[in-house]
Amino acid sequence: MSDYNFAYLDEQTKRMIRRAILKGLAVPGYQVPFASREMPMPYGWGTGGVQVTAATLVPDDSLKVIDQGADDTTNAVSIRKFFERTAGVATTEETKKASVIQTRHRIPEADLSEDQILVYQVPIPEPLRFLEPREMETRKMHSLEEYGLMHVKLYEDISQHGDIATAYAYPVKVEDRYVMDPSPIPKFDNPKLEMAAIQLFGAGREQRIYALPPYTRVVSLDFEDYPFEATKANHPCDLCAAEDSYLDEVILDDAGSRMFVCSDTDYCRSRRAEGHVGRLGEEAA
């Protein structure tokens, strides 16, 4: 612990990142460039989220890290250990007890409160990237609010698949101004982007930070005749019987049997503690 500055990054770097975060909060949805540092993990493992978390943490914070909703997957475990070691902060797996939550690809099922911060790991912050490869051009499109191209992508979805097939990283418009990539969360989570907690997005390789202040209006893009729909697998959770949570499909054997379980492990565990039992809940417990 004494070998590192608190939360790994030096104080000047944290100041620089905090300035970017504040600017991002002042202009919701705008991608603020920042001088992303090399982190002791590969790009794609959440270097952006880790830097944002490091700049946000204070010693009495309690940190929760999830990857695809789960607390016990590789990415979550290694980042949690990283901050246990370099910041010495308390860690928790309970959503309600955490003051800072770093997430990859999910928003927790439980409602977050005003004293919490949700930090996203973002691989590609530019929602227009695969439609317009030139960065100069996409920046100009953002500054001039030329977002027709985003709908071309949705049009292509409908013409090829019959409905909007984009299932994750579903583009949203923030406060009627910036079109934003909400990171690869399932579109099931999109309605939850309007929440009480502060949401910070960090993209390490792409060197961008953006943010949503509490209660910011976030609208998922759609067509009048093909409205946005938050979709999930049409099952209850097989462990806790929850009907309202986002599910992972787990293949059980070679004979085709499978189960659906909450991707948010903390949500599933707390429901089972309350006595909810799903189809396979008894066997697993």
């Binding site: 001039l144 027709g148 191209l149 049009y155 292509e156 409908i158 013409s159 005749d225 093909y226």
Partner: protein, 265 residues
């Protein structure tokens, strides 16, 4: 028909005044001035490197000219100098009242987006948010440029060169522009495809009452399409007038050379 329109409305749609574009010490185009009236088609001919594409790009706002004015008669505010108007306004003009047809269809199309999406892009860019209506208009425009609407979900990369060029025209005309810039619209196409494309362009221009500025080195194209003609050499306009007049009775030595260079089959 051009003459009738002119009598109704004497405000030029586009006034180009002393437009100059330099590339360092070299001349791109110098001191070009002309008026274009609604419904009129202007041809610009000249050899490679004579500054015709530079002129076209400067007029269309792709290059900032060094001096001069390009005054466009906008629907809302009347004549406005597009060189000094704000960039958002100019880009808005570029996808509503203006259209630009590139020589190479790949420059003007999104090759990874279906034909319908290509045509719909301008509609969505100006606020179209109803999938059914966008698709209906896309199918309608495919028909107007003689592409079967069974190809609406195919990508332009699966289309022939002539079809790509027709698709590019449909994509540009779908928002009902009033002025079309065309840079060698028939370049690189074989003669029979050229002929059909020219037929199509001529009927669209007449039907929609479009004004157009066509840059080409092909005198046959301007003979068919253009009401008036400008001949450029080394960045200067050396001769201008009615198309038939310039082609049948060329005054400038260079125009005479140009006209006599055309092979007679």
């Amino acid at each position: 028909m051009g003459a009738e329109v002119k009598e109704q409305d004497m405000t030029p749609l586009l006034q180009v005044k002393a437009l100059t574009k330099m590339y360092g010490p070299r001349i791109g185009c110098k001191d070009v001035s002309f008026d274009l009236y609604p419904g009129e088609v202007m041809g610009i001919v000249g050899e490679s490197g004579s500054g015709k594409s530079t002129l076209l790009n400067a007029m269309a706002g792709h290059h900032a000219p060094d001096c001069g004015e390009v005054v466009f008669d906008t629907r809302a505010d009347g004549p406005v100098d597009t060189c000094t108007m704000s960039e958002p306004a100019r880009r808005m003009l570029g996808r509503t009242d203006w259209a630009f047809v590139h020589q190479h269809a790949r420059d003007g199309l999104r090759m990874s987006v279906s034909a319908g999406g290509n045509i719909g892009e301008r509609l969505m860019a100006v606020g179209g948010r109803h999938y059914g209506e966008i698709r209906e208009q896309a199918a309608d425009w495919l028909g107007r440029v003689e592409i079967s609407d069974s190809r609406i979900d195919d990508r332009p990369s699966d289309f022939s060169g002539g079809m790509q060029q027709r698709l590019q025209i449909a994509r540009n005309l779908v928002t009902g522009p009033r002025l079309v810039f065309m840079d060698e619209p028939t370049g690189g196409l074989d003669v029979s495809v050229q002929a059909r494309l020219l037929d199509l362009l001529r009927s669209l221009v007449r039907e929609m009452g479009l004004s157009a500025i066509i840059v080409t080195h092909d005198l046959a194209v301007v003979r068919l399409l253009a009401d008036r003609l400008m001949v450029m050499k080394d960045g200067h306009v050396v001769e201008s007038g009615l198309t038939d007049q310039v082609l049948d009775d060329p005054q400038h030595a260079y125009t005479q050379l140009l006209v006599s260079s055309v092979l007679q089959v």
